[in-house]
Amino acid sequence: MDAIILDNVSKFYGEVLGVNKVTLSIPPGITSLVGPNGSGKTTLMNLIAGLLQPTRGGISVCGLSPSDPEHFFRTLGYATQYDGFPRGLTGWEFVRNYLRLFGFSPKDTERMAWESIDRVGLREASQRKIAGFSKGMRQRIKLAQAIAHRPKVLVLDEPLNGLDPLARAETIALFRELGNEGSHVLISSHILHEVDLISDQVIMMSQGYVVAEGQIRGVRDEISEQPMQVLIRCDKPDVLASQLFHHSQVVEAKVHADRGGLLVRTHHAESFYKLLNRIALDGVRIESVAPADDDAQSIYEYLIGSEESTK
């Protein structure tokens, strides 16, 4: 009841594949949807928000469907990727005009519009015409429009695109806030490191398919039969490398150019860590050991980047 559920959803644009056979159950919290251009992120979000109808499969958001718009769109807010606005409006008019469609009293409408504009930090600018806004301001006014009615489910298509570092940090803080309030926040991006720190879970897409899904660590485990990389800082990396090569878990070991470290690829992380403990007792001084790719970026590169490069 509390989740966004997609059941074997496919969308074709004529012959062109948008997304294929997507089955997901997205729990509350911040979820990022990651994939390169054309992987189907926007298509998936448009399907969830009812801007597109699935060719096959079924979708429900907290038990609601877009065929019941009067309830559905009170629950869901969606800031699309489209950089389009009705002509001739100021930022404030834009947010207020569409908020009027909810049927709140005029006073509440005004108050809620201001509150959301304040949340994205556009109070002054919102008195100017949107036509004169910068890309970052347009992104933020779209965000204000999407959150103005306080939806429980917020879908944001590339909301960080075009924001400067300060605005980006502020916006990310806002996502955190919204996530902590118990909302669903679904954020898409093709740059993973900007969202992986704040995400409770990730969904990775490539060429219309969901290729991995879950918590970042979980996603890593899902592909555990694939090698994992570990970064070791130590004083005698070549000695360590030669010792490691005697063990079958180690696929590859590369000594850093500065001769102060080693990058190891292994098939089995746990037994490798045990092995490392034994070797460390044999006189190699190890400063630090860290998984080189336990962040989503490397998983992403791995899953999607490598596919891209073999194309």
Binding site: Y13, A49, L51, Q53, P69, E70, F73, P86, Y98, G103
Partner: protein, 278 residues
């Protein structure tokens, strides 16, 4: 429920009316609507200068311009501009999704937009009828005008023209609203409808009745006398052999428009956002 829908329709009209009335790209609609007033005013000035004033002739001139140009060209294309843009214009601006993401039924969106189009077009085109009326008749002596308007048929003619113009907005408006919902490129259906409406004179009686112009001609207060040579093309356009009574015509036109709007509302549920991939 009704009060929510009323509020929503009002909110939609506030958004869309501003767009329709004050859009720079809609300026040509005003020019088109007022275009008959220019030759009428010139004619007026010329008549006054030459001191001749044939009242009966002026009544005929008004009727001719109204039926031949105003209904068929000015209001027709004005409604293409206003009503097709209600949906297509927002597709071009990539702003239609803001409506589709609001807690409003698609049918309510459609009705709200239709009413906005109607308010705008009726204001513009009925307003222009008044301007034209004044331009053409202003040079006649006040006493003559008075007796024409209040003891003669003048007032009822004027009301008939206003009703016909408003009905034209309802009829053409519904058709072009539907075309905007149904077609990606609405210019092709507009051309087809233009052909259909022009062929009205040669259509069999039954088919005629599903054209807008047939009913509009029936509302017009005076029929143009047919010129010599009964088979000229011009004749087919203006002259109608079997007009319906005005009341019946209005009723039928409303039914036609209602049917088209309901159909468009049902189809609106299937609208998908595809502004072209970004």
């Amino acid at each position: 429920m009704m009060t929510l829908w009323n509020r929503q329709i009002l909110a939609i009209m506030r958004i869309d009316l501003a767009k329709t009335f004050f859009a720079k790209r809609g300026l040509w609609i005003y020019l088109l609507a007022l275009s008959p007033a220019v030759p009428m005013l010139l004619h007026s000035l010329l008549d006054r200068h030459e001191g001749n004033s044939d009242f009966g002739q002026d009544v005929q001139i008004f009727a001719g311009i109204f039926q031949f140009f105003y209904l068929r060209i000015a209001i027709f294309f004005g409604c293409v501009g206003i009503f097709m843009n209600l949906f297509r214009g927002e597709m071009v601006d990539k702003s239609l999704h803001y409506y589709l993401l609001a807690p409003v039924r698609r049918e309510v969106i459609l009705v709200g937009k239709f009413l906005s189009g109607l308010v705008a077009s009726v204001t513009i085109f009925c307003g222009s009828v008044l301007v034209q009326w004044c331009s053409l008749f202003c040079h006649h002596p006040a006493s003559l005008l008075n007796s024409y308007m209040f003891t003669g048929p003048g007032a009822s003619h004027l009301v008939s023209y206003l009703v016909a113009a408003a009905c034209a907005c309802v009829g053409y408006g519904s058709v072009f609203l539907a075309a905007g919902v149904l077609f990606r490129n609405p210019l092709i259906p507009a051309a087809v409808i233009l052909l259909w409406e022009s062929a009205d004179g040669i259509l069999p009686a039954l088919l005629k009745k599903i054209s807008v112009i047939y009913w509009l001609k029936s509302i017009c207060p005076i029929s143009i006398p047919s010129p010599k040579g009964n088979n000229s093309i011009l004749n087919l356009l203006i002259f109608d052999v079997d007009p319906a009574p005005a009341r019946v015509a209005i009723l039928n036109l409303m039914l036609l428009a209602g049917f088209v709007v309901v159909w468009a509302a049902i189809r609106a549920r299937r609208i998908e956002i595809g502004y072209g991939s970004e």
